[in-house]
Subunit: 358 residues, 2 copies
Amino acid sequence: MKILLDAMGGDNAPDATIKGAVAAINEIEAELVLIGKKDIIEAKSEEFFGKTLEEISDRITIHNAEEEIEMEDIPTQAIKNKKDSSMVVGFNMLKLGEGDVFISAGNSGALLTGATLLVGRIKGVDRPALAGILPAYHGKLVLMDCGANTNCKPINLLQFAQMSSIYIHNTLGIENPKIGLLNIGTEETKGNDLVKNSYQLLKKYSSELNINFAGNIEGREAFLGEIDAIVADGFTGNVFLKSVEGLGKFVKKSLKESMMHNILSKIASIPSLPSIKRFAKSVDYKEYGGALFLGVQKPVVKAHGSSDEKLFKFTIKQAEQFVNNKAVDKLTEIYESNENKEKMQEIKEFITKIENKE
Amino acid sequence: MKILLDAMGGDNAPDATIKGAVAAINEIEAELVLIGKKDIIEAKSEEFFGKTLEEISDRITIHNAEEEIEMEDIPTQAIKNKKDSSMVVGFNMLKLGEGDVFISAGNSGALLTGATLLVGRIKGVDRPALAGILPAYHGKLVLMDCGANTNCKPINLLQFAQMSSIYIHNTLGIENPKIGLLNIGTEETKGNDLVKNSYQLLKKYSSELNINFAGNIEGREAFLGEIDAIVADGFTGNVFLKSVEGLGKFVKKSLKESMMHNILSKIASIPSLPSIKRFAKSVDYKEYGGALFLGVQKPVVKAHGSSDEKLFKFTIKQAEQFVNNKAVDKLTEIYESNENKEKMQEIKEFITKIENKE
């Protein structure tokens, strides 16, 4: 297996990508290809470790790419014009089979555009979307879409439910994972037009598509471990994700201040530090890595833009697992089956009928 | 001052409303009127305290109302047909000046419908909305709309920004409060159509409307104490609110488990319990009470549906402050001024022009 890593992508690149790669290499079996400016990467490696990456491990190589896609670049233009950027080179290698998975922490818009344009959608998937894995009470919670599609239709949310179901079954080994629809109440009549219509679609077609639909889920119930995935349009999903990150930060800051309140509380907190650390780890979203871009023909992982060494290491390990679990193969097999194609056709006709009625 | 309390509204009513009223009465100066089934309220009071409410305080009275609006009632029908329900009676008393503020933890849809239909909007406010007060790092964060309007237009978000600004200035005494627009990125080009258009409107008209517009705010930055209010449509705002509540619950559960991990960590946690308690209090959304329905002609407070005795007590105290701060008077004065009316007219013409261009 070969993991392709965009060495120039993210706020802390290339320092964090290089350090993350070195930290990960002894914990994975795959080869690792860093894509970016070879001179810079080699100089940095000498600076950090006193030797070249190839001297550190024969499973790390560098693939030169002279350009970079910047955070402020316009996605479609960047993908079209920066042919020798680390991101475009990475996608082309993935497409040609010169690697099994591509990881980047760079410009999110460009990553999604590039994956769709250069790697291509799985036939039958209308909109690929980002599936993120969050910590939940005694388990994990998949959130899809984390932010790829700001405007969605009910058919998209139905497919997000189907894709996350297949993904969870294949990677986490959960039989009939429970999929909830992110809403502001549990009743059928709650929500905006998009979620109301998506609810109707999920209710009608879930069992035929092997989705274990758990109905509407409010954000406050999402983390209690009762569901395995939550689906939403990319705008709402991203608001959800970032609120949770925001509160996580606030919680850590407040907890630290409570402990450091005065000299007595400082001393008092010493014996419980191991517990506090265990707790802090359980709410640290950095422990939970990148989001998978599900619905494209090859595995693409969007790493957190602010990833540091530790998070790149984690995301690289996660990418290896993702390839091993063959979730993309399974998604492709199901979506390209005649049965699923016919079902999607039927669903789209049903939607047209509903919309004409309104 | 007279505070009107819907004694029958909420998951824990009337037990929690009665106990909350008794707990609050010595910490407020206002009179308190419990609206609901007199027989039941009196019997409960005897049961809980061994005496009638009037014997407990001469500032507590009961106003009889024979009907109740249930959680599953359809809002408009309930408000129209249940004329002798505690909620409709409460609104009518508020309208007639027989009370200064109305609090209810009952059916949210009915509360918002009743407030708009029976009490009436402030002229010039297109959509009243719920302003909630959340804890933030070293301060408070106002969120508007918490969930009253699931589908919004840019003019609504502009008015939410203006109303929350006036409200914060009047009640929290903050000069030029900073108002952010809830979005999934900080750049102007980010977000769905609603927030993109709202951004343009806020950018163009903020200074003329005395709004200190801080631009787009991501959920993860919202709690860091850098802004005073965040505006969103009611669907997105409610998702934000409930995600935060959900993570709060998960955090508390995880923290408790980390502490109770084994006998050693249990013993170790004893000295730091005061710190932990201080922390738990800072993330307890129950400490932060009800949401104010801003944009109607009289003060209306929506208490949390699952309010317990403690939260009703807090919300009653909050309602008293709300009346004392005269935020509704100030909102009315500004919105009914010719200057603001003309400005709103101009803004609406601008929106029409923009929409026709698209």
